[in-house]
Symmetry: C2
């Protein structure tokens, strides 16, 4: 679908000129009454039509019995009627020219299979009319610039666009919005998403000039929608922060998501890696997601993870520093010039390292806070600052004369933050009570938080977001691609698994290094091959009927010398005969001594498409659970990052005096596996285990390639 | 100090019959004015004396110029005057009979070394009069049953005792108390703790019938105070939950704690293990600590970690289940009878596995929530339940007629929780707005939380607390002690490090298994020893001047046969001669082939005393950082737990088809090391690395024992 047409259709939903609400009511306790009320009170300045079977007017607007009776065409129809009546209302609305239909009514795909078919028909009908349909079973929409509010509760306008797979989460964010004084450009709950999908709306919001930050609650993605999201971000002309609240870290969370929204099961660590790879922030807690979005509306990047901590005294600074360490932040001691400047400003009893502790002074003279902040932010090593304690509530202890001083200090804090273009946050015990000084900060988009832990996590997100839009050190390009090799489907269409000799042939054709090998049919051939390779060999039975070689004892490791090789071959062929495997041959391969074993894998994720994995191999696999994921395509430079992220990366960098191991051969191998996945859609899975890193390169000692017959 | 005398002294502070506030004022913006106001308004019914240089009365109470002018003796003096005046006021107060002195004034140890000396003198003077002194530099005290409030802000009475190393944290908890409707039995801020220490107050509160839960904010412990806390808990006649908010997970947090309260540096993982070992809960976030304390006031244990999740629909249930998995909880599908009962109750569209999703029904009929809860709690496999979503706020959407129904449902929820004696929590988007139904829940001590993440963490703490008071499977007893061995001080008083032969002799005397070894002075002796041991040997240079053997190349590994042993011995002795080591000998020891290497260590922690560590050894040490700590004494059964906690525990349980390795020999070794630490105070450190686990037992291949000369 061309994006212009898409934007037009979404404009009918988010920037309509006329709206009919079918099921409007004067009773505020009804779903239609509540939404009609917020719609009328929201100040929408286009035509508004309540549709009701009997009423003549509702809240001062003339009511109509049916959409068909309206005096003119409509852009948007909002439908809140019993599920059986929905198809007729939708048809009437489309006939009346609606290009957007929002179905709040429930009782469709979430209830039964027949309901699912009905909602699919609704979506088809809408698309056939050039319209888009939101829902069914959604809570409604809010569009601040258009003054459209059909969620049925108060929404505060602002610069955050919310896309939510849950109406209750939208209610939750609306409550946090009231508390934090930041608001929404748009808020859309997608319900069953029969037509309009979350990713469609994220695309709209990325291009929406009214939106500074996109916030989404997603339990999962539809087929390949995760990849589409990543591609949208890559294609955006100017980067815009996206925060996704997405559960899935624990088994219980994944099961609940599948039961709630029918999400696809996915490898959560891949989701994590894919989002990070594309500069999308991920949160797991509602307030964490909201606070990150609020902080990002300021659009001030955090260029270093070092935070200056200022406190009016007490344990909050210690708790902040502790949480900061876990959130990827540092709270290092200040430079000597900064300390000296702070010492010149503050009495001797105040700590002037990091944290700066005003030790009771700020409660008497709040103006000292911006003065110290100015000094800290001028320190080139400092990326941002936080004031923790009970700023904003000093008047509660020290009396009302402090109020104007606190407000002045708040204003000075915001000025200094703007001048230095570094993120500044205020933690305050009084954040929820929202006294005037904190309102003053929030009005200048200085985030004010109630919890030190949340402050640290929010700044951690800003550090992550600071990396947004930075160029990848080595973006994959055609020139960097390895030579093309054999496409397995054309060569070996007979089975969904490649035999190991076939897998080795394919890998070698793509430039992947495999230890010397041969396929033999007799003990004599086997002995000759072993002799020519020298050293120990491994023998593996090869047969279409023996894919799981080790199950029938079809693998012999560490076979030394031609005589033993011949004997081993006889043994394997005898086993094959006993198991009635007519096509049995034996693979002889040189054994490689290495220093570290890795696993390299590739697969097609249902949500994110082709993906690459590298992990610690051998005995460490299960002990360490040490893996790193990326979406394909993966360049050599990205592959090096993947390997360095591993905990076994330590071993590779030269451990306990051992020489470091060059990772470029395994990085090249990973890039080639990535190219195979991109060029050969028929490969569903590649599993190279182990990949042995030796001083002379990376050797694939065992390979499995699985094909997808449907391609 | 006898605990009765101690309780009496603390009674003068927390249950005084008369109070003088020196520095009282009519000005509420002053520290003394604010505190006098809350003290007078708090309704204290004993004698109250404001002391002020000029005023004749303050807030209706007759004022005095000095404590000396008072008409009668006082129990408690609260001192808020300039620091220079404090010593005189304290002396006067003690002369006037005060048994408790609370010094709010700052400007002592936190400011300068001379200030530290002054506060020590104050403490000494108080103790000499049989009194106790709190502070200086503290925020004051609150004692609900005694109606004493000298913190200067409103406090809500309740059953939680707070001991805080920070006044601002007390302010924070007071704010959370207002929001959650739970309150304080006592709240004490300890300031510089010149006399009364946090652990003293925790001891008082453990024995305080007005207190159900002890909550403490601690940045650190004084020398051995951590161990004292653990011993107090063990000695308590009835267990009482303790929640400690204690930073220290990150380097930045530890540095800030040292700078803020002069905390001792300690191994944070030991603190974690020691608290867990003694059933003390640890939190890292302010609200997390508070919510855990609130939930624990209900005194209903959580006997299984399986939680039933009920939701009015939406993503909060998914987010809860996800967070639950990380908090050590499970949200498993219900048993078949439970599902059938839920299906009989609810319409078909509702999910009846776990979570139970009311899908819009609860907002219309809140009474369905307790009905479903009853069914879930009757499931024997379920340890507790949570309702998530927007319960309490249904009236905001569905109209005021729902209010009484929600209140009735709240009451029924509390009844059911009480009847089943299982913890129940409610998460609600409206938790902070505190509508009547949520007040009804809180009045019945059903915790209501604003955040699903916090709900999961709170229930996780309840599961941990459920293990409180359970007997250790095998408590260390005299009978289980190993035979006593050589005490290193008497044998080897000459150095702070034992030479390795001495260390081996000591270890063997305590029943620790060491591979065969001998000390030789000539190549011929070395060859004979190697021959008699058979197999490969290790040769180590032994000399008082060569403690770091490997630094001068003083270790030869894998030496095979008597000839090579003789040559190796010559090589080492030549090195010694070159380095002018006059006393050089050579240790010959059999090399042991094992399947897994561990590290066993023992040390004396400044806060917690003797402690034992076991960890993964060899190359895994740094990759895995896989260690387990306990306070000594450690029994064999506890040692088995320690080893099983390790990630390498997987290797020991029989990994990838390998036979399991018996851990009882290494557990016995750990118990013996523990006994050495208990019996030999002169040992400051034991480091056995590696300990080789082989099929025939646990062998110590290298041993280091460090002595403390001061003992």
């Amino acid at each position: 679908m061309p994006s212009n047409e898409s934007a037009n259709a979404f404009n009918a939903i988010l920037n309509p000129r006329s709206i009919a609400l079918v099921g409007a009511s004067a009773a505020p306790e009804k779903a239609g009454g509540r939404r009609w009320k917020t719609l009328v009170e929201g100040g929408f300045d286009g035509a508004l039509y309540p549709i009701h079977p009997k009423a003549r007017e509702i809240l001062g607007r003339r009511a109509y019995r049916s959409v068909r009776d309206l005096p003119g065409p409509i852009d948007l129809a909002v439908v809140i009627v019993s599920p059986g009546d929905v198809p007729g209302v939708v048809a009437d609305s489309l006939a009346q020219g609606a290009r957007g239909v929002v179905v709040v009514s429930a009782g469709f795909g979430e209830t039964s299979e027949s309901g699912r078919l009905v909602e699919q028909e609704l979506a088809t009908a809408a698309r056939a009319s050039g319209a888009r349909l939101l829902g069914p079973n959604c809570a409604g929409i809010y569009s601040g610039p258009a003054r459209v509010n059909v969620v049925g509760w108060e929404m505060r306008p602002g610069r955050i666009a919310l896309v939510s797979q849950s109406g209750n989460l939208a209610l939750d964010f609306a409550d946090l919005s009231r508390k934090t004084g930041q608001g929404f450009s748009r808020a859309v709950t997608i319900g069953n998403a029969a037509d309009v999908r979350a990713v469609d709306l994220i695309e709209y919001c990325l291009n929406d000039p009214q939106t500074d930050v996109v916030l989404a609650y997603l339990e999962g993605f539809g087929p390949l929608e995760g990849r589409r999201l990543c591609e949208l971000v890559d294609a955006a002309s100017t980067p815009k922060p996206i925060v996704i609240l997405k559960p899935g870290r624990s088994e219980g969370g994944r099961r609940a998501a599948m039961s709630h929204t029918g999400s696809l099961a996915g490898e959560d660590r891949l989701i994590d890696a894919a989002l990070r790879q594309h500069g999308i922030l991920r949160a797991f807690d509602v307030e964490e997601a909201w606070q990150a979005a609020v902080a990002l509306t300021k659009r001030v990047p955090m260029r270093s993870n070092s935070v200056a901590v200022l406190t009016d005294g007490g344990g909050h600074a210690t708790l902040f520093c502790d949480a900061a360490g876990l959130a990827g932040l540092a709270t290092p001691p200040f430079s000597e010039p900064t300390r000296r400047a702070l010492q010149a400003l503050l009495p001797e009893r105040c700590a002037t390292s990091n944290p700066v502790d005003f030790a009771g002074l700020a409660e008497r003279d709040p103006g000292v806070v911006p003065k110290a902040l100015e000094i800290c932010l001028a320190d080139a090593g400092i990326g941002g600052a936080v004031m923790v304690g009970h700023f904003g509530g000093y008047e509660k202890l020290g009396g009302p004369t402090l109020r104007p001083q606190e407000i002045d200090a708040a204003s000075a804090i915001a000025d200094i933050a703007d001048r230095h273009q570094k993120p500044v946050q205020v933690h305050s015990v009084h954040a929820d009570a929202n006294p005037p000084a904190l309102v003053a900060l929030r009005d200048r988009r200085i985030p004010v938080l109630r919890s030190v832990d949340m402050s640290a996590r929010t700044l951690g997100h800003l550090v992550q977001a600071g990396r947004l839009g930075r160029p990848t050190p080595d973006a994959p390009s055609a020139a960097a691609s390895p030579p093309y090799g054999i496409r397995p489907r054309s060569a070996y269409a007979g089975s969904s698994w490649l035999q190991e000799p076939e897998a080795r042939t394919v890998l070698e054709s793509w430039g992947v290094r495999v230890p010397r090998w041969a396929v033999v049919g007799t003990p004599e051939e086997c002995a000759r091959a072993a002799e020519s390779f020298g050293g120990a060999v491994v023998l593996k039975l090869v047969s279409a009927g023996a894919l799981h070689k080790s199950d029938i004892g079809g693998v012999l490791l560490g076979v030394k010398g031609p005589d033993r090789a011949a004997a081993g071959c006889s043994e394997l062929l005898a086993k094959a005969e006993k198991a009635s495997l007519g096509d049995a041959r034996v693979l002889v391969a040189a054994m490689v001594q290495g220093r570290v074993e890795l696993v390299v894998g590739a697969f097609r994720d249902p949500q994110f498409g082709p993906a690459i994995m590298v992990g610690a191999g051998g005995v460490l696999v299960e002990l360490l659970d040490d893996v790193s994921f990326r979406l394909a395509p993966v360049s050599g430079a990205m592959a090096i990052e993947m390997v360095q992220e591993l905990r076994v990366g330590k071993l590779l960098r030269g451990y306990r005096g051992a020489a470091p191991i060059d990772v470029s051969p395994v990085a090249a191998l990973i890039a080639r596996v990535s190219a195979m996945m991109s060029e050969c859609p028929e490969i569903s899975e590649i599993d190279l285990n182990p990949v042995i890193l030796a001083d002379d390169g990376a050797h694939v000692a065992d390979a499995r390639i699985v094909l997808d017959h449907s391609i």
